[in-house]
């Protein structure tokens, strides 16, 4: 598991909350820092890809761990 600076628990949250919470957390972080997000919403897989593409925050990793979706976003 790659290193990260902050973690966001978005489990149990449904669209669009994981994205909104991630955006909010990122805005309090420094450029280059990495945010780890754990979510249970299956829609979040495509949504974080789309979020990354549109905001320029790089999606370093997108995977599944113990039935949960885990993402690593690097703040632009």
């Amino acid at each position: 598991m790659a290193a990260f600076d902050q973690e966001l628990d978005a489990t149990g949250l449904n669209c669009p909350l994981p994205i909104l919470r991630a955006k909010k957390t990122l805005s309090g972080m420094e450029a280059g820092q990495v945010l780890r997000i754990v979510a249970t919403d299956p829609g979040s897989v495509k949504d974080f890809e789309a979020f990354s593409k549109q905001t320029g925050n790089e999606l370093l990793e997108s995977g599944e761990e113990a039935g949960k979706f885990v993402f690593l976003l690097k703040k632009a």
């Binding site: 149990g12 669209c15 669009p16 909350l17 994205i19 909104l20």
Partner: protein, 160 residues
């Protein structure tokens, strides 16, 4: 500022279910970096009242899934029974909480936090004798021309 994408939404419906699309899209667009404006007109004004008390109605809505197979044994007219709307609204709210869907209040707060600009249709406020004090703080009042000032420059414009 000028290279920022813009989303303009007209919100015209005032039920619990139809309150979601404008707030979900506006808050998400804002998170993606869009400059966003929502113009609330007619029944859409219910979405910007200080006290959000929206209901969902099964009446005239055959697409609405009913819990416990109620749609099978309830005649269509049954959905018009007094109290039915409240019952269905409570069930819907509970289901949303159980599924981790944000409340409308929460989404609206997130919109304000993300600086989504919200405009209430002045004409509708006058038409229904609404009291401007009953609406949320931060709301602006304007007319169709006000909407077009922003909508004319927008990349996406939705009527909901």
């Amino acid at each position: 500022m000028s290279d920022e994408k813009k989303l303009a939404i007209i919100a015209t419906k005032g039920t619990l279910d139809w309150g979601y699309p404008p707030f979900i899209l506006a808050s998400t667009a804002a998170a993606l970096g869009y400059e966003t404006q929502v113009f609330f007109t007619f029944y859409g004004l219910q979405l910007v009242r200080k006290k959000l008390d929206l209901k969902v109605s099964p009446l005239g809505n055959p697409g609405m899934p009913m819990p416990m197979g109620m749609d099978k044994w309830f005649p269509v007219l049954g959905t018009a029974l007094p109290g039915m709307e409240s019952v269905m609204s409570s069930m819907m709210k509970k289901k949303m909480r159980d599924k981790g869907v944000a409340s409308l209040q929460e989404l609206r707060d997130l919109c304000f936090e993300a600086e989504v600009k919200m405009i209430a249709c002045q004409m509708t406020v006058d038409l229904f004798d609404f009291n401007p004090a009953d609406f949320v703080d931060g709301l602006e009042f304007g007319g169709a021309a006000t909407f077009f000032e922003f909508a004319g420059e927008s990349d996406i414009c939705l009527f909901i």
